[in-house]
Structure formats: structure tokens, C-alpha cells
Amino acid sequence: MSAYEAVIGLEIHAELKTLSKMFCSCDASFGGDPNSKTCPICLGLPGVLPVLNRKAVELATRLALALQCDIAPYSIFHRKNYFYPDMPKNFQISQYDLPLGVGGHLDLEMEEGRVNVGITRVHLEEDTGKTVHVSKSGRIHGSEYSLEDFNRAGVPLLEIVTEPDIRTPEQARTFVQELKSIMEHLEVSDCKMEEGSLRCDANISLRPHGSSQLGVKAEVKNMNSFRALYRALEYEIKRQEEALAQGGEVVQETRHWDADANVTTPLRTKEYAYDYRYFPEPDLVPLELDQAFAGEVRAGLPELPAERRKRLREDHGLPEHDAGLLTSSKALGDFFEAAVGAGANPKAASNWMMGELSAFLNAQNIEIDEVRITPAQLAAMLGLMDKGVISGKIAKSVFEEMLAGGKDPETIVEERGITQISDEEELVRHTEEAIRENPASVEDYRKGKEKALGFLVGQVMRKTKGRANPQLVNDMLRHRLHEEPREG
């Protein structure tokens, strides 16, 4: 065991799911032709003024309440001043010392026990545009020129800052996963890391076990997936450990996670050593949220992942593990519950979702809301299995076709003529054949080796190309072999 304990705090940015931008009425959705979603305000033309998006405040309040934060009755916006071409005004409007939500927490159920992660603050700010450096490397150094796309400029962002309560990369990953699921359940953000609508930075330092003092921290940026977060922290712990073990020290700096090289590298001082010259944004009035507003938002809060997990366990008898996975995203949980609503056996639906379905999602690198299969179709397929129309093995190939083409399972079964053989007369032929061809197994079974029966069932399944009703074959064989042994 290492002599050191890691102390990790996270800073997460999530784009809010509003129709319009934070301070103007431009479309806030992702993508589109460069600069097609802009107006004088989000382009920062001379003379424009910001007007706060009410929906953004509501969504931010929703998350702050879900994280048990106190909602500030009075909060204000500041200007964060620095020059960068993706910032049209060369300042970012952001909350600073009076954020919307403070003092919350989020509990994580870990193998090592419950971990309580404090939420320092939840605040609102505006996103920047995007710079594309035109060069071979895509980096600013050596680029011929750079292009600016301001479609993202002014999209509302939530910043969530945690206390340094996280101790392991696994806890960090779990925290972000849980937060993502919460935001999905609250419908405050799409949380798509690959589109940049969820971004994560970490502050990390080491200290000897048992010490209560904080070590020198490094800030790690550019962790654009759960995997990247985990591995970057893992790397950083190792790096700092080595530095300390050799009697050296950790330098306070900002480091960049390079996912290709699997290392963190320091950013040049010049790139981050800004004095932001924060001061209250004079073009906006203070945000005064009364108790009634907070109460209204609180009353409208939907079920959160933790409650949903509990309900899946209690109402559907799912194990902890299943409930955890099915609530790791809102869409998974919704799919599951819709399938159960359509008559699926909960455990069977869960197994299929965590097995075949998630293998498919991973292989295709898509999200559950992008698959062609509907929860009702999954329920129907499970129904066909229950009724003995198809075997588990056939179900797998039917499921594959459902995923590929979005067809109903009944249609596939009919088209392929792959209904299960439950006709005893037809099966007798195959069981007799199997007995004839495998006398040794017959002998073994009769001597009490139960496994030998399984082998014979398998033989029948092979002969019928998997279409035999396995339960029926099992019964038939057992019955037949318990009769008196016949000669010849």
C-alpha cells in the first residue's frame, strides 16, 4: 500500500439544456454551420447588453437543490476578464463570490463504504466559442491561421465544484457518473462528454496517510471521458508519489491530460497565469430568488437516481448491481421501466440489457436512445421465450436482427420460420438418435451422472439447429432414460 493518500476535488462544467443561449435568444443546440447560431449579442458587437435566461436559472436551481445546496436569495454575476479570440467580449460573464447554490453534498455508494462528497458551489456562467487552428497538428503553435465558431458562445454552463473529499480515481469516476445521471434525470443537461456538454477538471494532491494537511496540488484538464478521468488521476497519483518518494516536491501547476500518450504534461505558465480582474457585471441586475421560487422548483423535482435505484430493488427485486447499472443513465432506466411496463420479467429484462444490449451499444459506440429496438419489442421477445416459442439461443439471433433492423420479434420469427420445435413426435426422432449415437453418455447418466443428460440435450439441440424446446427435450430424455434399459 502506498504511503500516501490522494486528495481530489473536481470542477465540472455542464451545458444546460435550454432552448436559447444564456443572454440572448439564439438557438443553444449543439452543431450547425459555423456561426449560424449567432446574433449581435453573443457575437459581442459594440453596444449589446445581456439579458439573463430565466430557464437557465431554473435548471441551475434544480441541480443545486438536487445536490442539497442552499439557494442563495441574492446572487450576482461577475465579469471574468481575459483576452482570447473565442470570447467575443474578451470577458466571460460568470458567477464568482456569490454563486447560486452553496454547501451541498452527494453520497457515493462505494465498495469501501459510503463516501460523502461535499459540493462547494453550483454556479452559472456562459460558454465560449470554439477555435479551430488550421495546421497539420491542429494546435495553435505553427498553425497558419485560426477560425472561430461562435455557435457555442453564450450557451449557458453550470459549474459544479466539489470539496476535496474524493480519495481514489474510482470515486472520482463514480462521482461524475452519478452527477451525470442526476443531471439527466433532472433534464438539466444532455451530459454528452464527446460533444463537450460535460467537461471535467480535477485538483489533486497527495499527503501521508493520517495527515490532515493538504499537499501541493496540480490541476488536471482535458479529461474528456470517464476513462480519461480515471486514467489521468491514476497517472497523476503515480507521478506525484514518485516525485515525493524521491524526496522531491509537487509543483503547483496546471497539467494537460494527453490521452494518446497516457501522460499529463504541464501547460506553459503563460497559458493560464491570468489575473481575471473579476468585478460585478454592471449590465445585469442581481439575481434575487425568493423562497417561493426555490419551493416551486423543489416541488417539481423528479425522482433522482438514488431513489430510483431503491425503487428498482424494492419493486422489481433487482440486485444492487443491476439497479446501479440501470440508473447510471436516465435513458437506461427509462428503457428498463418501459420494458417492464410492457410486460417483461424485470430480472430477464435487466439481464438482456446489461448483457446483449450493452455489448451492442459498446460495440457500436452509441447511446441507448439511439438504438432501433424499443422496450416493448424487448418485452415481446422475452414473452416469446417464456411461452417456449423460441429458445434462449434463438432469442439471441432474433435480438441481433431486432437491433440491426428494428423489426418486431414476432415478424423475425415468422419470416425465418424459426419457431421452436415443441412437437413431441418430431423430437422423439431426435432424442432416439441421440441415445443411439451416445451410449457412453447414456451409461454415465444411468450411473447417476446428471451432467451426461445435459450433453444429450445439447446433441438434440444441435440436430435441430437450436430450435428444439430445451425444457421439453430435457423432460423427454429424462423420462425415456428412466425406463428399463432395452436391449439392442
Binding site: P40, L43, G44, L45, P46, G47, V48, L49, P50, V51, L52, R79, N81, F83, P85, P88, K89, N90, F91, S146, E148, D275, R277, Y278, F279, P282, D283, L284, V285
Partner: protein, 491 residues
């Protein structure tokens, strides 16, 4: 009858309504006058003659069909070059925006267009409204029509000079620390800085957001009330704009001064006033009393710190507001740079004049880590004290009066090399912006042939009261002097 270019808007409206003159004739008179005097006065940066002629023709067409072309129709206006005008270049008196053509109209322009605006051109100003003489314009100084060797005041000096010289009937200005009232004072005009939030700032290129206000520069109080009623009112595009019912300002100007409680802040009558200014203002104060007002000395104890607080807060906000002029998206870009930072540096070095640079540096410093509390934080506290001082004074008084400027118009070049002396010329007007209250300038006398201005300050949303007081005083003072050919423009 006075020449058309020399008349008031309300007079011209009457003539036009009665069919005695057309909008085209009024504009023709103003443009002819402009041809004669503009070379000397230089009120405008950009002229929009053709647009104005088209607007006048349209106005006459509507009138001839028995329609109503709007309250601003037929009245040629000068618009300070700090307002965004769609399709018409907007320089803010700066090289950095020399070729900048906005894609949208400021809210005030939009409102005026709906009322048949006839815009003669974009008026000269101190660069980004920073200055008190219009000498900080990248397009050269404007001269005072009363004396061509004097400044017209600033920063709305072009607007005021245009109205005083007959190159416009009325004008739109902006006032951050006196930029409407002081040039109105120097040019013998009426100028109103409304309550902060009364007029939308959307499309007004920001200098200091918490202090900027839009207002009229006119030839009398009636015109001032008329123009104010066209531009005042809530704008959903400006979060700081007040949501209230706009009163009928013109109707409000009628009434007398009996029982009006008038306070004279002693801090604004102390040293620094020229004898002529003191005399004219004291005479006006006596006149208040004669007209039935109750006049008493008032005190605003923290006023001594107003100028210092202003010169922290305004530059701080300006340093941030002007950051967007970086050569990336619009305006000037100086090429040949090795990298982005150098491009920013070269562009801003070439695009901004010395006063703008001075204030950006002052403001940047005042907001810097480690200095914020000592400067910006402290200045905001002073501002709060000044707000309280005024609030306390308005418990006892309905209006406060003072000189608008401690001196009449000073000489061209006289204070250019001495920024502090220049800053001091706004000592009477700056507290009003810090407090967010309205104040109006009316001419109240002459010193050495140059106009002296009286400032009447009101409570928040007290426009109705100060307009009434101003009109009563205007009638009583009966200020009829006009620029003369001896030193100023030919009549």
C-alpha cells in the same frame, strides 16, 4: 420669423402640422446652414444627407395623405456617433472603428425611426465618450459655435455644436459624467441626463455601463421633454432599464415654482467657480426664491470624493467594455504580427488614442488582484455614501441646483496636456451619474460672451419635477443670446 434651421422642434412641428412648411424645407434649411458653417464648426463625423432627404420626403408624403408621420418627423437630428445605426458607420470617435458599420439600430434609434426620424449625421465626440472637450476625437476637434477658439465641451460636443450652430434642430447624446450637460452648458443649450435606467442603453456603445445614460440636447425645455418622451421607457433588451409608466413629459413642464423646495449644495458652490459662473448661478438661485420656491443651503458631505471614485469606477468598467476591440471580429486589425498577442497589441496601440489608453490602464490597474479592494472596492463604497448623501438631501428638497460647469467653455488646446484639469471640469456633473439621478442643464447667463449653465438635479425618476422647474426658470431667465459672428459662427 427666424430661419427654419434656428427654430425649436415644437415650433417646426406646428408649422408642419399647419402645412406652412414641409419637412423637406426644414431639412433643406438645415443642410444649407450646414454647408455654410460645418467647415468651421466640424460637428459631424459622418453625414447622412441622402437618408435624411429620403426620410423627409417620406414624411411629407405621409402628411400629404393626411397621415401622421410621427413626432420626430420633419425635425433634423444630430446623433452622437456612439449609437449603433444600422448601415451607417459608427466610429465612437475612434480609429479602431473607423470603418465599422453596425448591423442593428440602437433601441433609441429604433424608437425614433418609428416616429419618423430625420438623421442629418453622426456627431463628433471624444473617443469612446472619454473627455470633456471633444478634442479626444480621432477625427479632429469640434469648435464651439459661440467662439471658434473654444471647445464645445464633451464628450457630446459634436451633438451640442450642431444644435447651437443650426446644423440640427435637436440631438441625441450620452452622459457618463456630464457628457450631455457640460456641452449643453458650453453651447447655451438644454441638456438632460435622465435617471439611470430611464432610457435604454441597448446599442449605445458602452463606456462605463453603470454610469452611461442616453439623453436629449435641445434648444429649450419643451423640446427636451418632447424628445425624452420619445426615447424613455422599458426595453426588454436592457436588464438595467426601469419598468415604469412613461409620463407625459411635455405636459409636466407646465406649472410654477411655488412651494418647490430648492437646495443649494454648498460643496458645489465653493472654490473653482469663475466669477461669471458664480454670478449667473447666484442670480438664478435668487430667481427661484422670487418665483416662490423655498431656497436653502444643502449639504452633500462626501462630494469631495466623487471625482476620485468616478475616475476609478468609470475606467474600470471601460477597461472591460473596450476589451472587445481586439481586431479579431470587426474594426481595425493591424497585420504583420507574429502571433495573436502581438496582433492584439498592435491593433489596440494603433486604434486607441492616448486618453482611451490612459483610462484602460487606470481601470485595468484598479481591478488587478491585490488592488481591487483598495481601489474599485473603495470607490464603490464612496459611491454608496454619495447615493446616501443625495437621498438624505432629497428628504428635505425637491430639487438641488448648482452650476453645470465651474467655468464657461475653455480654449481649444488649453487643457489637452493636463488631464487632471480636464477631469476637474466635470466636478459638478459627475456626482449625478454616481447617484443615478436625473439632472438638466439650462442656460442662465453669459460670461465674456460665453454661455453659463445652471444644473437642476432631481430625485430618481424626478424628471417631471426638474423639467417643470427648468421650464419655469427658462421663462423667467429669458435667455435669448445667440452665437455671434464676431468670434463664433455667422448668424
Amino acid at each position: 420669423m427666424d430661419p427654419l434651421y434656428d427654430m425649436k422642434a415644437w415650433e417646426l412641428q406646428g408649422l408642419i402640422a399647419r402645412g406652412e412648411v414641409s419637412a423637406a424645407e426644414v431639412l433643406g434649411s438645415v443642410l444649407a446652414r450646414l454647408e455654410r458653417v460645418e467647415e468651421e464648426v466640424r460637428s459631424y463625423i459622418t453625414l447622412t444627407r441622402e437618408d435624411a432627404q429620403a426620410a423627409a420626403a417620406e414624411s411629407d408624403r405621409v402628411t400629404s395623405r393626411g397621415g401622421s408621420p410621427g413626432v420626430a418627423a420633419g425635425i433634423p437630428m444630430a446623433v452622437k456617433d456612439v449609437f449603433c445605426t444600422r448601415g451607417v458607420r459608427t466610429t465612437c470617435g475612434s480609429l479602431i472603428l473607423e470603418d465599422y458599420v453596425p448591423v442593428y439600430d440602437a433601441t433609441v434609434l429604433e424608437r425614433l425611426h418609428r416616429e419618423g426620424l430625420i438623421m442629418v449625421g453622426k456627431a463628433n465626440m471624444d473617443e469612446f465618450a472619454m473627455g470633456s472637450s471633444t478634442e479626444n476625437s480621432a477625427y479632429g476637434p469640434t469648435r464651439n459655435p459661440w467662439d471658434l477658439e473654444k471647445v464645445p465641451g464633451g464628450s457630446s460636443g459634436g451633438s451640442a455644436a450642431a444644435v447651437a450652430a443650426g446644423e440640427a434642430i435637436w440631438a441625441l447624446g450620452s452622459d457618463t459624467g456630464g457628457s450631455i450637460r457640460q456641452p449643453a452648458s458650453f453651447c447655451g443649450l438644454v441638456g438632460l441626463k435622465p435617471t439611470y435606467g430611464l432610457v435604454s442603453r441597448y446599442g449605445l456603445v458602452a463606456f462605463a455601463s453603470s454610469l452611461d445614460q442616453v439623453g436629449p440636447i435641445t434648444r429649450d425645455v419643451r423640446d427636451c421633454a418632447l424628445l425624452l418622451s420619445l426615447i424613455a421607457g422599458h426595453d426588454p433588451l436592457d436588464s438595467t432599464s426601469l419598468d415604469f409608466e412613461v409620463p407625459d413629459y411635455l405636459a409636466a413642464t407646465r406649472g410654477d415654482l411655488r412651494g418647490l423646495r430648492v437646495g443649494v449644495p454648498r460643496e458645489l458652490m465653493q472654490e473653482g467657480l469663475t466669477p461669471g459662473v458664480r454670478k449667473a448661478v447666484e442670480k438664478s438661485i435668487d430667481l427661484f426664491a422670487k418665483l416662490g420656491a423655498e431656497v436653502e443651503e444643502a449639504t452633500l458631505p462626501n462630494l469631495d470624493y466623487a471625482l476620485s471614485a468616478y475616475y476609478i469606477i468609470a475606467p474600470a468598467e471601460a477597461s472591460s467594455n473596450l476589451a472587445r476591440f481586439d481586431g479579431v471580429r470587426y474594426g481595425l486589425r493591424v497585420g504583420g504580427a507574429e502571433d495573436m498577442m502581438e496582433m492584439y497589441g498592435r491593433t489596440r496601440a494603433a486604434g486607441f488614442g492616448p486618453e482611451v489608453k490612459r483610462r484602460i490602464m487606470l481601470g485595468t490597474y484598479a481591478l488587478s488582484a491585490g488592488y481591487y479592494d483598495a481601489y474599485y472596492g473603495q470607490a464603490q463604497k464612496v459611491r454608496t455614501l454619495i447615493v446616501r448623501d443625495f437621498r438624505a438631501a432629497y428628504e428635505r428638497f425637491d430639487v438641488l441646483v448648482s452650476p453645470t460647469s465651474p467655468t464657461p467653455a475653455f480654449g481649444l488646446g488649453e487643457k489637452v496636456e493636463d488631464p487632471l484639469a480636464m477631469y476637474l471640469s466635470d466636478v459638478c456633473t459627475i456626482p449625478v451619474n454616481l447617484a443615478g439621478i436625473p439632472a438638466i442643464n439650462i442656460p442662465c447667463g453669459l460670461e465674456d460672451g460665453l454661455p453659463v449653465g445652471l444644473q437642476i438635479m432631481g430625485k430618481v425618476l424626478g424628471e417631471v419635477t426638474i423639467l417643470r422647474a427648468a421650464r419655469a426658470m427658462e421663462e423667467a431667465l429669458d435667455f435669448r443670446a445667440k452665437p455671434g459672428a464676431e468670434k463664433g459662427v455667422e448668424p
